[in-house]
């Protein structure tokens, strides 16, 4: 059974890492729409999957965050990826099983997964 004291161990480990998520301009941002429309369409497991993948691969230059309604509710769950210096990429009708390939292809290798983008859906 887990106890809150385990958080202290996480803290000690994180404080040792000097490269702890530096807040810089060169960070990749993953933004998940978490308004009523997104939540109803299944955004919660998608956001969870991003957190798990980013943690598993220890991607220190990636921030996963949440936003409200992006405005195309029928295509929810929607995820926007901002890579510094590049145009925003919008992924639509997201599911947890699409997350791993977006993380490995787009966030790590810099190749947009075209088939999941809003351009391919419309």
């Amino acid at each position: 059974m887990k106890s809150l004291a385990e958080l202290r161990a996480i803290r000690e480990r994180m404080e040792k890492q000097i490269d702890l998520r530096e807040a810089g301009e060169d960070r990749i941002r993953v933004v998940v729409g978490m308004a009523t429309c997104g939540i109803a369409a299944g955004a919660r497991p998608v956001l969870n999957a991003f957190l798990e993948e980013v943690n598993k691969r220890d991607l220190k230059n990636v921030t996963v965050s949440q936003t409200g309604c992006i405005g195309v509710c029928r295509l929810e769950p929607i995820v926007e990826v901002y890579v510094p210096g590049q145009e925003k990429v919008t992924y639509v009708k997201m599911t947890p099983d699409k997350v791993a390939s977006i993380v490995s292809e787009h966030l790590v290798n810099g190749r947009v997964v075209e088939e999941y983008t809003i351009g391919a859906a419309e």
């Binding site: 059974m1 887990k2 994180m14 009523t36 497991p45 957190l51 798990e52 980013v54 949440q66």
Partner: protein
């Protein structure tokens, strides 16, 4: 929405938008009823807005004149033999309460409360949140003050490693509560 946990996540986002610093989420399962209470100390509402707020054509959003969170919850509760109430005072905060009749055929399952509570914190890591889930005599919960005591000030609750730990912790607690009551998820 398929779960009471998803309504919880949705309605609690309103509190964050209303600049709440403290949030109390209580889910009580007793005597055949499931009651969800979300109380915040956000900016609250004037009586005029409060009166219109469970109408789907009301929103504080400026992009489109519709908001569906509260009307959906109200509908879900009333369809499941329950009721819906909202109290708010401008400058003080807002409390939303929805109850469901647990054995009603249209009562949604409680669902993944651990997932909803942790993602709420991931989106608003500065929030002081107390969460209590009661089932009869048994009770589990989470208090962000206790988490921060262990973590210190330097580490955000939104760190993936931290928030995933909190989720696993809460999932374990929820499972214990269900075992205790012989309840279904």
């Amino acid at each position: 929405m398929k779960e009471i946990a998803l309504y919880t996540l949705d309605i609690a986002q309103n509190s964050i938008t209303a600049q709440a610093k403290h949030l109390e989420i209580t889910l009580a399962e007793e005597e055949g009823r499931i009651t969800l209470t979300i109380a915040d100390d956000g900016k609250g509402m004037e009586p005029e807005l409060l009166a219109r707020v469970s109408d789907p054509f009301t929103t504080t959003r400026t992009t489109r004149s519709m908001g569906l969170g509260l009307p959906l919850l109200r509908l879900a509760a009333e369809q499941a033999g329950g009721c819906f109430a909202i109290q708010s005072t401008a400058g003080v905060g807002t409390t939303v309460e929805a109850s469901f009749q647990a054995d009603h055929i249209d009562c949604p399952p409680v669902g993944d409360m651990a997932g909803s509570i942790t993602l709420l914190l991931q989106g608003a890591p500065e929030l002081e949140l107390t969460y209590v889930h009661r089932a009869g005599e048994a009770e589990i919960g989470l208090d962000t003050r206790q988490l921060r005591e262990e973590l210190g000030d330097g580490i955000s609750l939104a760190e993936p490693e931290v928030i995933l730990w909190v989720r696993d912790y809460l999932q374990e607690q929820e499972a214990l509560l269900r075992e205790n009551k012989g309840m279904k998820a």
